[in-house]
Subunit: 337 residues, 4 copies
């Protein structure tokens, strides 16, 4: 951490800062320039509160050199994290394909879709029982009943299930779920993050719509600080000025996360763009960029059911896509070798 002092800093305040830092085991190197004095802080600065130091009258600016996350940091954990989920794994060179409907609507629907996506190569079933909706007048999901239908679909297909937890009061219902998803809007619901950090199901954290890489990793850090190391990241588009697509899918997040952290990263092209004709090209792009998996919305009858977003693929559209994704993943492995 680097602390840039204002010109002619008050000596008492400077001494008090230096003492406080030294008590915390930080060594200080100072460079005195004409315009500025710069303090280089050496030691474990990850637990120093940058805001506290910035608040001081004598400080002009503080810049981090070391990342504020530890458990999620690849520097301290160089090997990729691989997460076992049912009979499949996430990370470690496999391509995870999570497919299924945005909302669970009925047992028949979710079982039919689960069978279809399994046949096409999906390795996990996604589906929402508790649904975050911007309008209080929109369908809010089937809740606990939806979770039951998902479990039936799992029983019928063997596909592990991933579904969203919206509030910590729902946590007891999620005991039998395979992966708990934290939605983009809850990425900084810190009480929820702490709660899933104190249980042992894998947790997939979707990136908030305006979350920086560092904030996203700090949310992973919240879960890991509670003792749960099985964290998966999911990029689902960030909010930008461009409104033609719902959000802007940031595929640079893949190699950036590969560098900064050891956690696996999944891409959700369906929610990112909100348009089903963009799912295929961006899913292909994501695989070639090096993601560990994809989350794709599949619905068996969008037009008649009037119950799903325009980003869903039909099973007959998902099938060739899934096969292309797997072939591309094989090709990519060959190119690496």
């Amino acid at each position: 951490m680097i602390v840039i002092l204002k010109q002619n800093p008050n000596r008492d305040q400077l001494e008090s800062l230096v003492n406080w830092l030294q008590e915390k085991g930080i060594t200080i190197h100072s460079s005195v320039g004409e315009a500025h004095t710069i303090l280089g802080l050496v030691g474990d600065t990850s637990k120093l509160d940058i805001d506290l130091i910035s608040a001081l009258d004598i400080v002009e600016d503080v810049k981090r050199v070391q990342e504020p996350y530890k458990n999620a940091n690849r520097k301290f954990h160089p090997e990729d994290t691989v997460i076992q989920v049912g009979n499949t794994q996430i990370g470690g060179g496999t391509l995870t394909i999570m497919a299924g409907p945005c909302s669970v609507e009925s047992e028949e629907q979710v079982v039919a879709i689960a069978k279809a996506v399994k046949a096409s190569g999906a390795t996990m079933l996604r589906g929402g029982a508790f649904k975050p909706r911007t309008s209080p007048y929109s369908f809010q999901g089937l809740g606990a009943t939806g979770l039951e239908y998902l479990k039936i679909a799992r029983q019928e297909t063997g596909l592990p299930i991933v579904t969203e937890l919206m509030d910590l009061s729902q946590l007891p219902l999620f005991k039998d779920v395979d992966v708990i998803q934290i939605g983009a809007r809850n990425m900084q619901n810190f009480d929820l993050l702490k709660a899933v950090g104190h249980q042992d199901k894998p947790v997939m954290i979707k990136r908030g719509m305006s979350a920086t890489y560092e904030e996203w990793l700090m949310s992973a850090e919240y879960v890991m600080a509670g003792g749960n190391e099985n964290v998966i990241l999911c990029e689902r588009g960030i909010r930008t000025f461009e409104s033609y697509t719902r959000n802007t899918l940031d595929l640079a997040a893949i190699p950036v996360m590969k560098k900064l952290t050891h956690l696996p990263i999944i891409i959700d092209p369906s929610h990112a763009t909100g348009k089903n004709w963009l799912v295929e090209p961006l899913a292909m792009g994501a695989v070639a960029t090096g993601c560990d998996g994809l989350q794709i919305e599949v619905h068996n009858d969008p037009a008649h059911a009037l119950c799903d977003g325009p980003q869903s693929l039909k099973p007959e559209q998902f099938d060739p896509l899934s096969k292309k994704l797997l072939k591309l993943h094989e090709t990519m492995k060959g190119l690496e070798g």
Copy 2:
């Protein structure tokens, strides 16, 4: 609502859409052009799910004409909402000044600050007991004890208190609070919004860092749909590419909210900018733009305590600012007259 159809839409699907809309009491006017057929939907479209219609194969685009919020909409509630809080009110031509520390640290601290800000003209005491922090290693607030200290400060000064609720499990502790604050990161924590909609304390909703005006109003609508009409909006800066300030304070939100809704709007220049030297000019600007009040961070000893953000003012800085704000508010009233 306007539905733009693709060229040569499938006749069966079109008929099915038309029947479905008519069942919901919607009248349809169609304009057939060379390239596009356009359906104008007339009636109460606020409860139609725009995503459901967009999902249809025959639909190219759907555009709203009517706003999706009802209770919060000024069109259906033309008079300003005025909210009584203790012996003060929010809205209705008064200038509410909520001042106090970011975090409650001790009884002495919060009582001292409460007395100081009251003497300077503040009408409410703000202070955080439960603190949303991006790092799990940062101070998370005093919790229930912090709430007790706030109540003591209220008893000593008569200032009503506003403080943040982070999770619905904490709600029982907030029974004796005057205004419940929903933080920017929880603006779309829909379970939390529903919970505060089913109790009767006024609720202040901070705008999410990347929330549109409509999304913000839909969050107010969540609370109001539960029966709680006492909602206050608070603009605290949006996330943009500019990183010199923490966020970009959007003062246009004031007149826009005055047009779209009848709810009062408060401005928080402290969190918006993250720099205490920007609080005064932007607070003055906010008053001249027409806000109903301000939320300003005041701390009695930022430098020594190392416990508050660089956006806090000291009581001796807050005092002249508060007086200027009240004078400016008087001048503005004179200019309107």
Copy 3:
């Protein structure tokens, strides 16, 4: 185009609007609802100035249905545009690889790099002679001399050259260039766009840092309206809140442009991210997403020369990347078939 009128519009103004539209050959369908009257405008609305109509007192909002660009619009020109440049072509199923230094520094440098990138599979040489720099104190490029060096490199290798034109006064110097590049900062330099529309060299338009898809296509339309149909689009990252990378590369631009326009699209991962270790994964992602080509910075000695950005690859890094890109492009063709 859809015009939404305010409630109880002034009859004279409405009549005057209707007459004005009819004179322009527009047919009008009106839907009268309780809250709003909606006018559906049918006919060629691409030359109607949306701002003029929005300015009317009686108009609440105007929404476009038809795109405001014509020459660039795939609806009116369904086949892909393929542009012949020297002995290579851009578009039409080929993968164009434009490689070379950010700035031309010397004849030796640019010839050496040109030979290296050609050997690795590049099909065009890129290099800047006139350099847009944010600081007036930074190196501004070799200018006309730099153009001469590029031409020598072309002579030595046969690679066509693409280089940036910054001001229309420089146009005479560009007579012998193969493709004229318009930089992101000049995307809405309309006088420059008109100038290159009135000459016959192909023009590559980089997307402005905060340009929407529609604005980008309108810039292409400026060039095409002048008579020059040989326009290439180049996505190079948009400005967002994320500052870890220089910009956010928007790969959705590839399929979106493929749908909206017939013009070829090139991706520049070097400028988008500003980090050379992100070039490979994003270049691979771009090819799998379906781009027509890439623009990649290659420099022969970044460390010693102190003369190029941290986004440059060395020739020995570019060589395996170029080969992977070509193999991936072949695989993608196979998957399409």
Copy 4:
């Protein structure tokens, strides 16, 4: 400037960097930590090219401490710049009100508006002769003829004129203009900036839609580096995710610019929002925040003429606004005293 080195940097490269810096008169302080070595560079770093240093293999990151602009920097020029324009001045405690039509349409129009706005208190006449339009099919302005009409209006009213220069080839026509405006889209048209830096008319630089404060000041630096110290800044809204308003007006730019630079700052609420009902509240807010002036669009007959944007005020709307602005400015002076 602070240079953060990678772990175990190559010794030869480090030595070569150190020598290169020392040759440029820079003194180096190094702090060797466990994870990183940090070099503190002391001396005049404003002319060091940050990209050159970042490009080195041994460098992990470079952070500026000193601003990269010199002539525009308040640190080196503490007094406010005051610019004399005709019989009025910009900066120095006056409130400049630039009013007039977006486009000059006829002599009658611009003379009538000039007379009206002068009577209401405007101190300068604005009007566009060369118009940057996103569509090649929109009205592009009257060009040289428009400039003549502006001069006639100046003669009739005594109001100095400010008008936009779009390309350096038009510069000879601007000899008799009072203030040359550089539009937001040309903020980084560096050849244009250089050209206006080599002549002596005051130059007003509009902030680019996605320009940071630093980039904006670097554009001012371009003009000042050419010898022209008479630069005015104009904030006109930045591009964000919010699309209800055309752009987001950033009033924090006022106090930030007051801190970073000595140049005057003008606010344009008309273009920022694109809605005429937002002009008054934001203009009032801008004055209370401390701006040096406003640029406001006024048109005498928007509805009939079909020739101006929805952001224009009529003279009868501008008149009371202008008077309120001047009263508020007086009040603000009183509050400062």
